[in-house]
Subunit: 376 residues, 2 copies
């Protein structure tokens, strides 16, 4: 019998994404799988039931869709109660936010389900196409700048008009990972004067390659080398102090600041203090991409516009969700790329290898089996 | 005694702009005028009272500011009741929306004030720097695209990611005046695939010069020549029909449509019907820049997101107001350029000439004196 893949409508409040698109439904069907989708699952991402049907999926109510499923796909992992009819030991491939959702992970173990946490995908070359953190961060970086531009009471590009010149906005991006790079690129597109910084000095060239100005202290001893996994290793106290002063002075001159610093499994680092906010011009905008992880900016609140010292501070609890159609398309491709890479034609199902399987697998055989969770 | 220029906080609901900035306050002072500003007038445009004070303005309550004023500046003309203390025959330079505000114009006449409607500025070369319709339309065109991009569930630029390619959005701009040109430029900046059309075929080259694709019927007899003032003159029925069909087919393939068609003193022309909306993909976005003038799009409502056939239709009653800081800066410069161009050093005040004075003057000596209003 064909492997059965089930996709539910997301239940988390405000979640508009969906873990399968008509494109990936067709591709799974081409691998020999049966695909079942809950009615209305694609609405938030502008995908009609009809579009899924045309792609060969069966549509139905949640319980009917999950019944006898071998694999359930999700953007955010569904509650265990939703999965009662799935096959014993069924896989659930989704985001679990495992460090913060211990109870959910425990419930998956207890239910005998195999939870596959997409955010634990190792950052290795062959898994890049399966990496939901990258795909969603990329869109989040774009959306952060668009939202900041939309909140800002001035235009981003320089405009030469009959009534005189409108100056280009000054945009500063703090943290140059996937989201930060896309934020730089988007702000440049919009014609802003863009600068950026990061704790890893190796990002300097990346910043320059996008046409932005790197903000790094020069001529101070003890600048860090890049450690394993691309994370910062050591910085002298002298360097840290000089860099903090440089950044502080720079923030005061900016119209827009976008902060993007996240540390997996830990609260986001504080990058901007209330005193630094007070140093900015009234009408400036700060977008805090880390607001849901505690925030890089003092006083930021998820999904609220906070005004402090005349500066607007914004940030979404779920930024990529605001580009639900593209975010779903990429998330769904990540899931497809993951499962199809391990597809065993004879078995008619995916068989994971150790490197990736052990990295993403949270629960199996009734137990929590992931090393990263054990280490907590 | 020095000429006294007064600026009030705008009273229209939601209006964030202000008719004077510290920059123009300084310039008026340099001409020898005294400048008085109502406390808090600049708040919506991120201008503090302190900044006005530093520029040499006096700050106070509304009545004190207006008292003995020779000239009152406004974005939207204030109610006559606000102007009781001004000098007899004082000038009020502001937007009046004269065709729709007959009662307001009559009240200005009755009060013996001289209303100068900035939107009646003639479209001649030397008045370009005084043209508030142009300066505000330019920003409105930018904001229309930014808002549409922010409502759209996908990204505008093509993105090459590890999870595959995100396609560029298709943006169609209908009406290529000042707002339309800036809409095209902004959508291009954001990386969209942009096309545009207009009833004036002369805009074709302007569209192409911005890197967008003009959508005009080819090889049909009877295409219009451009008439006086840049307006369309004649089009054959055959041409009109062929063009309508071409545009209809084109709309169905777009992700974003921005409509910008306004006719001074008349309701906006209908450009998009419900049937055409229904032909678009779910998740598409239409921005109706003419929504406050009756709308180019069937069913559009000011300041509301209307969803029809899965398509979002948006539009602001006052688009430039959403970029209050820049919109104020340009509006204030327009007013300064206007008054300073006519400044008579000996008299210490502006003296208008006939060409521009008669064009913008609505009321004088207790009467409505404008030809365009008499012709209504």
């Amino acid at each position: 019998m064909a492997l059965r893949i089930a996709v539910l409508q997301e239940r988390a409040p405000g979640e508009n994404r969906v873990a399968l698109t008509p494109e990936t439904a067709k591709k799974f069907a081409a691998l020999g799988a049966t695909v079942a989708v809950e009615e209305g699952a694609g609405i938030g991402a502008s995908i009609t039931d009809e579009a899924y049907r045309e792609a060969g999926a069966d549509l139905g109510e949640a319980a009917a869709v999950v019944k006898d499923a071998d694999i359930v796909l999700g953007v955010q992992a569904p509650d265990v109660a939703m999965l009662a009819g799935a096959k014993p030991g069924a896989w659930v491939a989704a985001s679990f936010d495992p460090f913060r959702n211990g109870d959910l992970v425990a419930a998956y173990a207890k239910a005998g389900l195999e939870a596959l946490a997409m955010e634990f995908m190792p950052r290795i070359t062959r898994a890049q196409s399966m990496d939901v953190l990258s795909s969603q961060s990329n869109l989040a970086g774009y959306k952060a700048v668009l939202t900041a531009a939309n909140e800002y009471g001035r235009a981003f590009p320089m405009m030469m008009t009959a009534a005189g010149t409108v100056q280009a906005a000054k945009v500063f991006v703090m943290g140059v990972g996937v989201a930060g790079l896309q934020a730089i690129a988007t702000a440049k597109r919009l014609g802003a004067q863009v600068s950026a910084t990061d704790v890893r000095s190796a990002t300097k060239e990346q910043i320059q390659s996008l046409g932005a100005k790197p903000i790094f202290v020069e001529n101070v001893a003890g600048i860090e080398g890049e450690g394993s996994g691309g994370y910062a290793t050591e910085m002298s106290e002298e360097y840290q102090k000089a860099q903090a002063e440089l950044v502080s002075g720079h923030i005061a001159k900016q119209d827009i600041v976008v902060t993007t610093a996240l540390i997996p499994g830990k609260p986001a680092p504080r990058l901007i203090s209330d005193a630094q906010i007070a140093s900015m011009k009234p009408g400036s905008v700060i977008f805090d991409l880390a607001v849901a992880q505690g925030g890089n900016v003092e006083g930021s609140k998820p999904d609220e516009t906070v005004v402090k010292h005349g500066v607007k501070i914004v940030g979404y609890s779920n930024t990529a969700n605001h580009l639900a159609a593209d975010a779903s398309a990429l998330f769904a491709r990540n899931l497809y790329n993951f499962l199809s890479a391990f597809w065993d034609k004879d078995a008619g199902k995916p068989v994971l290898d150790e490197e990736i399987g052990n990295a993403v697998r949270l629960t199996q055989g009734g137990k929590v089996v992931n090393e990263r969770l054990a280490a907590q």
